[in-house]
């Protein structure tokens, strides 16, 4: 029996081979965030199904060809920022921290560019959060996405700060990987927000 138990224990993985608790935690957090944004999307479609005019006539200017073109370009900048974010994790696995830092800074730059467009769109919008139901759900959806983007930028900035302190040259890599997972999620949610507000309407 003792021998059998020893044999049974032999294939035990070392700790490094297990799914990192931080990554699993981030995945579960992202799953809960899918539900959170889902409730906002559900609210959008629920309001849309009972409205006589959707979007209301006063809100159509944000969907005119020029603003729509700007929204499309900004969206592709945001979706494109997932590429340097992914390249950063590849560099990280090679322990090329300097290259990783460059890719993360590029990701941050693209995220800031997107936020800049978002703020300009809000500033130019002819309606506010309290004008009508469309305004409320428009600002709720885009506002919560922008809030998530701000958190993502803060996390990426945190990774850059940790690099400056000499982190990640050895040891655990799950921290920056979890941050990149989060960034991909923020980009993916924008596919839904963009499709809902600008395409499906």
């Amino acid at each position: 029996m003792v021998v059998q138990a020893a044999q049974a224990r032999a294939p035990f993985p070392r700790r490094a081979e297990r799914p990192a608790p931080l990554l699993l935690g981030m995945v579960l957090f992202i799953a809960s965030e899918i539900i959170f944004f889902g409730s906002l999307f559900a609210a959008y479609f629920s309001l849309r199904s009972v409205a006589s005019f959707w979007p209301p006539p006063g809100a159509l200017s944000i969907l005119a060809p020029t603003p729509l073109r700007q929204a499309t370009v900004a969206s592709f900048v945001l979706w494109g920022s997932s590429v340097p974010a992914h390249l950063a994790t590849l560099c990280l696995r090679r322990r090329d921290v300097a290259a990783m830092r460059r890719w993360i800074l590029l990701t941050i730059g693209m995220g800031i560019a997107f936020l800049g467009w978002k703020f300009s769109e809000w500033a130019a919008s002819p309606f506010s959060v309290s004008t009508h139901a469309y305004g409320t759900i428009f600002f709720a959806l885009t506002g919560f996405h922008a809030l998530h983007l701000l958190v993502g930028l803060a996390l990426l900035a945190g990774v850059v700060a940790r690099i400056a302190q000499g982190a990640y040259r050895t040891g655990d890599l799950s921290g920056p990987e979890a941050v990149v997972y989060y960034w991909h999620f923020v980009d993916a949610v924008w596919v839904g927000v963009f499709a809902t507000i600008y395409l499906v309407r």
Partner: protein, 127 residues
């Protein structure tokens, strides 16, 4: 890991099936979307665990082992008590309620949230 992945996959299938049934019963988009996204959330967790299980495994994946065999296996370090989760809840509640009632609630809410997050981070970094 594999068992957890299967539980998530079955939950995802459940929500997809219920979502389809709900649509044909009600033709109501909001609830259908929510049920579908519950399915997506569980599917996401299931797929991550499936990928994670190709890279490594935990003792529970080995059907030959009984719980007693893996007693004492390293899982992680968890604090026995922490004030930060309840501070985080307080800060988020204040901050989000402030979006409805006014900026005077948002600022203290945001400050408490940030302090609680930093507290949580310091706690996990100190292990």
């Amino acid at each position: 890991v594999i068992s957890t992945s299967r539980i998530c996959a079955v939950s995802a299938a459940f929500f997809f099936v219920v979502g389809v049934v709900y649509w044909f019963v009600s033709y109501e988009p909001a609830g259908t979307l929510m049920l579908g996204l519950w399915g997506v959330a569980f599917l996401f967790g299931s797929l991550f665990l499936r990928v994670a299980s190709t890279r490594g495994a935990v003792a529970g994946d080995d059907p030959r082992l009984r719980p007693a065999d893996v007693a004492g296996d390293w899982v992680g370090i968890f604090p026995t008590g922490s004030p930060w989760p309840i501070m985080l809840a307080l800060g988020l509640t204040c901050g989000l309620a402030g979006l409805m009632y006014g900026i005077w609630l948002v600022i203290p809410g945001a400050l408490v949230t940030i302090v609680a997050l930093l507290g949580l981070m310091r706690e996990s970094a100190a292990r």
